[in-house]
């Protein structure tokens, strides 16, 4: 028996240590976590998976397969934001140049890390590179990292309160109207119920219920959080002072978190009184009630594919040359909480075949990929802005 407990204790100790360190050891190495994207590729095409290794070793190498890859085309390896994954998969499957892309959906942070480590051909992110990252990039490859916007997405406030739904219906109003100050108030836990005077002022006709509100945020670092907090940071002084913006911020006490859009949606749907923020596609697909938000012109805008697409149009002139921008101060008929998804590429250092494949793929995605984007509730790059983006794509591999 002595031996038994001793070995039990030994096993216990070791399994604890393994538990304590196992998860973290891989944390030092972003590559260790990047799964070979088996799930995603399975969905699209088995051939994509088969091509993967060739893509890593010899970017120019090309196999003949059922997807109809052009002779001159080569495989691409990309990694980054989960936000774009559903659309990216459609693009990969349907793109007309027939470029075979392997995309690893590991999150914006991982995408940027892998891009800067040059383990992928392109990165993908919902935030642009910081000044430090831009400087580092210059040092790493000896040329600039290029930001290429390829789609816009909105973040919408969603809630769970049958009482409020009933009250809205009684008043004949489609959605509760919020503005940046009331959203910030809810997340700062200063507005604790729907019948707060600030919300009542925006919804004079509605008999607001007194449900206690529980703000739900993303617990993982996320581009969705970046878009949401950047909007509040710009609009609300108290928010800017106390919370700021980022893909992960220091949330006030009294809020709870959910992992991923699924996690926030689960909390929002199950917890009475919950208020969450979700990627618009997710909220619409799951039929979660959304709030309309006042934009800079004082119009209450209900989130939809059209109103989201309007947002970026109103600020096109302010977008800088390097495409590192936030979409703020949206007016007109545009929904105000909007963010951009960027593809990150290099200005130099690609093999010719890889560069051509990347350019062909992106050119197609930005122009002909629009319908697929709209089907999936993303707002495509359009209008004059499309021209600027196409020019930016031409910069890939242009420097020597």
């Amino acid at each position: 028996m002595r031996m038994f407990t001793r070995s039990v204790a030994a096993i216990a100790a070791l399994s604890l240590l393994a538990a304590a360190c196992g998860g973290d050891d891989t944390a030092g190495d972003p590559l260790a976590q990047s799964e070979p994207a088996g799930d995603e590729t399975d969905d699209t095409d088995d051939d994509v998976e088969g091509e993967e290794e060739g893509a890593e070793d010899e970017p120019g190498e090309l196999g003949d397969d059922a997807v109809g890859v052009d002779e001159e085309s080569a495989d691409l390896l990309g990694a980054g934001a989960t936000f774009i994954t559903p659309l990216m998969l459609e693009w990969i499957r349907d793109n007309e140049p027939g470029i075979n892309v392997n995309y690893q959906s590991i999150g914006s942070g991982g995408g940027i890390a892998q891009f800067l480590e040059e383990t992928v051909d392109f990165g993908s992110s919902e935030r642009y590179l910081t000044d430090e990252e831009v400087a580092d990039a210059e040092e790493i490859r000896g040329c600039e990292a290029i930001h290429i916007p390829d789609a816009f997405g909105a973040v919408v406030p969603a809630y769970n309160d049958p009482d409020l739904d009933a009250a809205l219906e009684a008043a004949g109003q489609d959605a509760i109207v919020l503005d940046a100050d009331t959203i910030a108030g809810i997340y700062l836990t200063e507005i604790t119920s729907w019948d707060d005077p600030a919300i009542a002022e925006l919804n004079p006709d509605v008999e607001l219920p007194s449900t206690a509100l529980i703000p739900v945020h993303r617990s993982d670092g996320s581009g969705t959080t970046y878009i949401f907090t950047t909007y509040l940071d710009d609009e609300n002084e108290q928010w800017a002072e106390e919370i700021g913006n980022g893909s992960e911020v220091d949330w006030p006490a009294g809020t709870i978190g959910g992992n991923g859009n699924e996690g926030v949606a689960a909390e929002t749907q199950q917890q009475p009184g919950a208020v969450g923020y979700l990627s618009i596609a997710y909220a619409i697909e799951n039929d979660i009630p959304m709030a309309a938000v006042l934009n800079a012109d004082g119009n209450a805008i209900h989130p939809s594919v059209e109103s989201v697409a309007e947002g970026p149009q109103t600020i096109l002139d302010d977008i800088p040359e390097d495409f590192r921008y936030d979409i703020l101060g949206v007016g007109g008929e545009g929904f105000p909480i909007v963010g951009t998804h960027w593809i990150l590429a290099w200005e130099c250092g690609y093999e010719d075949a890889t560069a051509d494949a990347l350019k062909d793929f992106l050119r197609w995605a930005v122009t002909d990929g629009d319908d697929l984007a709209e089907d999936l509730l993303y707002s495509p790059v359009g209008g004059d802005f499309e021209g600027r983006v196409l020019d930016e794509i031409e910069r890939i591999n242009s420097a020597e």
């Binding site: 399994s15 973290d24 030092g28 890390a113 992960e248 220091d250 992992n259």
Partner: protein
């Protein structure tokens, strides 16, 4: 045993010593040493590696500051520590849910073990044991989902409402409202279910080890079943129960996915039981994928801290067992 090497019992014909066997002996010994030492090497490598990676954060916050700091606010740097990293909310959450889980699981496990060993009719024992063992094989992601979509909505939430609405909830902050579905309470409950099979299995083993003579003697002196269980079997098995508890606590401290889904992941701590909080493993799992380099160091620092917590829990358990055995004396297990 015979006059030849004790390693080769001559009673089995097929195991008679041979020249080849004798040559193989040192080789086999070397393999065993290698296997045993590989554990130590792997462990040492992990500790050294994580500690080195985490050192900038410890240097910037100080070990005490890191452990007691209440603000977790990550920076975006690739080369230096610019954020504020206080891991108290996570340490607090991990310990809180783990100890509540132990509090709930240990008495239940002892009860199950006593029932299967002593009380249950023979035909029920095997199926019951299989059921409990099956519980141990369910992957934690399944527990996470069942907890998220079913248990907390149907059981834990309403139970929390009941307690928070009772005089107990009004009198104490700990049991007070509001009741959230994502809470320490939900996380502790899922952990309870997850560690139950381990503790039960060990309790069953150690209870079965109590010498039949002692039990029979107690029965012969007129002790009831309850008296035999509570005065003979359980006290005799104390160190085994502690061992099982430690194994369960180990799983509870290290469990990641189910906790990350159920605890509320707020990166804050709350004094209440029914409110959302965060745990060490949950914050690592939740934020790692999108973390900037400096935040990764901070997450590694949490990993190192968790390592030391589990180690001290283990040492404390050994000390308890040693002390109790000295006092009680004559324990079956040590």
């Amino acid at each position: 045993m015979s006059s030849t090497s004790t390693a080769f019992a001559p009673t089995h014909r097929g195991l008679r010593g041979s020249a080849r066997g004798r040559r193989a002996d040192p080789l086999f010994r070397a393999m065993l040493v290698l296997a045993a030492s590989s554990v130590l090497l792997i462990l040492a490598a992990m500790i050294v590696r994580t500690s080195i990676e985490a050192s900038p954060v410890f240097a910037s916050e100080g070990i005490f500051g890191f452990v007691t700091g209440q603000e977790w606010s990550v920076g975006t740097s690739r080369s230096e520590v610019t954020g504020t990293y206080g891991a108290f909310p996570f340490i607090y959450g991990t310990l809180k849910i783990s100890f509540i889980a132990i509090l709930l699981a240990v008495p239940t496990s002892i009860g199950i073990a006593l029932f299967t060993n002593e009380v249950a009719p023979a035909w029920l024992r095997k199926p019951l044991i299989y059921t409990i063992d099956t519980l141990a094989m369910v992957p934690s992601v399944v527990y996470a989902l069942v907890g998220l979509y079913f248990f907390r909505v149907v059981f834990w939430g309403p139970m929390g409402e009941l307690v928070a609405g009772s005089p107990l909830g009004e009198a104490t902050t700990f049991f007070g409202p509001p009741v959230l579905l994502a809470s320490y309470w939900s996380a502790a409950n899922i952990l309870t279910i997850m560690i139950l099979p381990i503790i039960t299995a060990i309790c069953r083993d150690v209870f079965a080890q109590v010498p039949a003579d002692e039990r029979n003697a107690a029965f012969a002196m007129g002790a009831t079943r309850w008296e035999v269980m509570s005065r003979v079997i359980v006290p005799q098995s104390f160190s085994g129960i502690v061992g099982g508890t430690m194994l369960g606590l180990g799983r509870a401290l290290g469990e990641t996915l189910a906790v990350a889904v159920l605890i509320g992941s707020s990166q804050r701590w709350a004094p209440q039981l029914f409110f959302g909080g965060d745990s060490m493993t949950a914050v690592i799992a939740n934020t790692f994928a999108d973390a900037h380099p400096e935040a990764v160091w901070a997450l590694l620092a949490i990993g190192v801290t968790l390592f030391f917590i589990t180690m001290s829990v283990n040492i404390a358990a050994r000390l308890i067992v040693a002390r109790v055995n000295r006092r009680v004396g004559g324990s079956v297990v040590a």
